[in-house]
């Protein structure tokens, strides 16, 4: 039944059992959104996407230019999140930052995901010395704390958001290569692959048409789960000064700016941190939910 779980399989099957399949698919969505945690995750993720789109084009005040008569104002009607030490509206900066965090996460996960797809497919399907070499390289990368490497690379290249993204991509791809390789090896001996081989499909065709589409699901689940950790890592690099540089409204860098005022003007550090936490929680919950519904075998919560 594994083949039936692949994308497109449901549509093909629906030619025969339309109504039953539709009910089953609806059941899947109900399974996903019927659980309060999953629904919460989906709502947070949706709101985050919406707000980052809005924040990219419009914010209530300026995210970069402050007014020196409004320095370190407590939250009020005019400034719901207060203002920072340069008199900038923190709500505007948090909104503008959403776009930045999303951009970092998307770039890192795209680069890592694409590298992972290519290397995972090749290693899983070809095996041999190539597989051995690539897997030992992933062992090295997974064998030491990723943040240390990112910090080291950031120091060598000089602090900037671009370098932080580069450093994160370099430490992120081994995970995806591993996941893809595992999926490919699992699929390689499946009957539908053998059938494709038997009717004379080329290696390339089998890889692109039969194996790749069946691995996308695992990849999407992992990517959803990773949005939160990518944002956390970017914010951590920003906090220690190796990520986005001032006056960029990156959330981690904003917490760092607020740190010195926290005992008197708590709002400067509190709100960007809450934003990081909520977004990270949202994508974790959504990713967990997707995994429960789409790939129950991987889930620690369906036992």
């Amino acid at each position: 039944m594994k083949a039936a779980a692949g994308p497109g399989a449901a549509e093909r099957a629906s030619a025969f059992t339309g109504r039953a399949t539709r009910r089953r698919r609806l059941g899947r969505w109900r399974l996903l959104f019927g659980v309060p945690a999953n629904l919460t995750g989906a709502i947070i993720a949706g709101l985050f996407l919406l707000l980052s789109a809005i924040g990219a084009v419009w914010t209530p005040g300026s995210a970069v230019n402050g007014s020196l008569t409004d320095v370190l104002q407590a939250p009020s009607g005019a400034h719901p999140f207060g203002t920072d030490d340069l008199g900038r509206d923190i709500l505007s900066r948090v909104l503008a930052g959403a776009h930045l965090e999303l951009e970092v996460a998307v770039i890192v996960l795209l680069v890592a995901g694409l590298l992972g797809i290519v290397l995972g497919l090749l290693t899983g399907y070809l095996g041999g010395w190539f597989d051995e070499v690539v897997m030992r390289i992933t062992d090295i990368f997974l064998g030491f704390p990723a943040l240390l490497f990112a910090v080291m690379l950031g120091a060598a290249l000089g602090p900037s958001l671009g370098h932080a993204i580069l450093a994160m991509s370099v430490v992120w791809w081994p995970w995806y290569a591993r996941i893809l390789r595992g999926q490919v090896i699992k699929l390689r001996h499946d009957q539908f692959i053998e059938a494709a081989y038997a009717i004379g499909a080329s290696r390339w065709r089998i890889m692109m048409r039969h194996i790749l589409p069946n691995t996308i699901q695992a990849l999407l689940i992992q990517a959803t789960l990773d949005v939160g950790s990518a944002i956390l890592t970017a914010a951590t690099l920003g906090f220690v000064g190796l990520g986005a540089q001032p006056p960029s409204p990156e959330w981690g860098a904003m917490v760092a700016e607020g740190q010195q005022y926290v005992l008197a003007q708590w709002w400067v550090a509190v709100f960007p941190g809450i934003a990081i936490m909520i977004v990270s929680i949202g994508f974790s919950l959504l990713g967990d939910g997707l995994r429960d519904v789409l790939d129950p075998a991987l889930s620690p919560y369906t036992k």
């Binding site: 240390l148 950031g154 000064g241 740190q259 708590w266 936490m277 620690p300």
Partner: protein, 340 residues
């Protein structure tokens, strides 16, 4: 089993070599002119040339790499630009504080994570499970540096219960180093007040560091418990009328603990990453704060040295937990990896 251990050992050596090599090339080949970086932005041309000579940076890269690897073998990590001392000496001085903090965070990790994981397993799919799951996700999702600042705000700024930062208070002399761990030394030397003061300084950093990975502990405990709850001998134990508490603790939990050994290796990785920010926020005189200071001052020998040493610690701990896991559960050596 021996084959498994040898394979793991070979892998550990490979990872160490790889990390050392990456650290070398990142610090020597990535910057356009490492000598300029080391000498600092205000250095004159002559000073830069002097640095280039002193550090052998005028040699071809492969020769520098040879010297570097040779130095590593002998434990020579070079001199720190910032402290003008051997990097190894600095690491030796700062390490005990980090170990003290790391071990304390491990206590938090187990004391909070294990009971919550057991609760979630026992009341699975009920509201207790959902609440515990959400708490775990929230703890994992909160940025460590922010949590640390919030802890300072609440427990120092508002409640005045705990000190803001540092390892000991004003007017408290650090103990004579016996073990190097302040609170242990205080206790051994009978300085009760100093011990309590040290403990109060330790609470916030340890809790914030431990909470970062407590979600994994909860999740793994839960799934490990559930796995063993389905065993036949558990049904037998219930059937013969043992109290539920005894069944859960003696028959399920005892077995469920074994796979959790490898989680402790994971916690070490999280601690080694976490100390960089947590120690900086709490001004804790450990290796993480040392690393961050080195990073902000582009002290490359120190950066490379700390990275290599921390990788060594991580690799050795993971090797040991893997071996411990195989020893307690020989079935694991037959599988690909004992990691959950």
């Amino acid at each position: 089993m021996l084959a498994f251990i040898l394979r793991r050992l070979a892998l550990a050596i490979l990872v160490l070599w790889g990390a050392a090599t990456i650290a070398f090339f990142v610090s020597h080949a990535v910057p356009a002119d490492p000598a300029r970086l080391i000498a600092g932005p205000q250095a004159t041309h002559a000073q830069i040339e002097a640095v280039r000579k002193a550090y052998g940076l005028n040699l071809p890269l492969y020769e520098q790499y040879g010297f570097y690897l040779g130095g590593l073998m002998h434990g020579n990590l070079g001199y720190s630009m910032l402290t003008q001392q051997p990097v190894l000496q600095n690491i030796y001085d700062y390490f005990p504080a980090t170990v003290e903090l790391g071990l304390s965070s491990f206590v938090i990790f187990v004391v909070v994570g294990l009971p919550l994981g057991v609760l979630a397993a026992v009341y699975r799919t009920r509201w207790v499970d959902q609440v515990v799951r959400t708490l775990g996700v929230a703890a994992t999702s909160a940025p460590g540096f922010w949590l640390a600042i919030m802890a300072q705000l609440v427990f120092y700024g508002i409640l005045h219960w705990l000190p803001l930062e540092g390892q000991f208070g004003v007017g408290i002399a650090p103990p004579h180093p016996l073990t190097g761990f302040y609170i242990v030394d205080d206790l051994l030397e009978g300085h009760w007040a100093a011990f309590m003061d040290g403990l109060r300084h330790l609470v916030l950093p340890a809790v914030t560091l431990g909470l970062a990975s407590v979600g994994y502990m909860i999740r793994m405990t839960r799934s490990s418990m559930l796995e063993y709850m389905r065993e036949d001998y558990v049904r037998t134990a219930r059937a013969k009328g043992l109290p539920e508490m005894r069944v859960l603790l003696r028959h399920v939990l005892r077995n469920a603990l074994t796979p959790l050994i490898s989680i402790s290796g994971l916690q070490v990785g999280s601690v080694l990453s976490g100390v960089v920010v947590i120690e900086s926020v709490f001004d804790w005189p450990g290796i993480g704060r040392y690393l961050l200071t080195a990073v902000l001052n582009l002290d490359f020998n120190a950066i490379v040295g700390v990275t290599v040493v921390l990788t060594l610690v991580y690799v050795v701990v993971n090797l040991l937990t893997d071996i411990a896991y195989v020893l307690t559960d020989p079935r694991a050596s037959l599988g690909e990896s004992p990691r959950l």
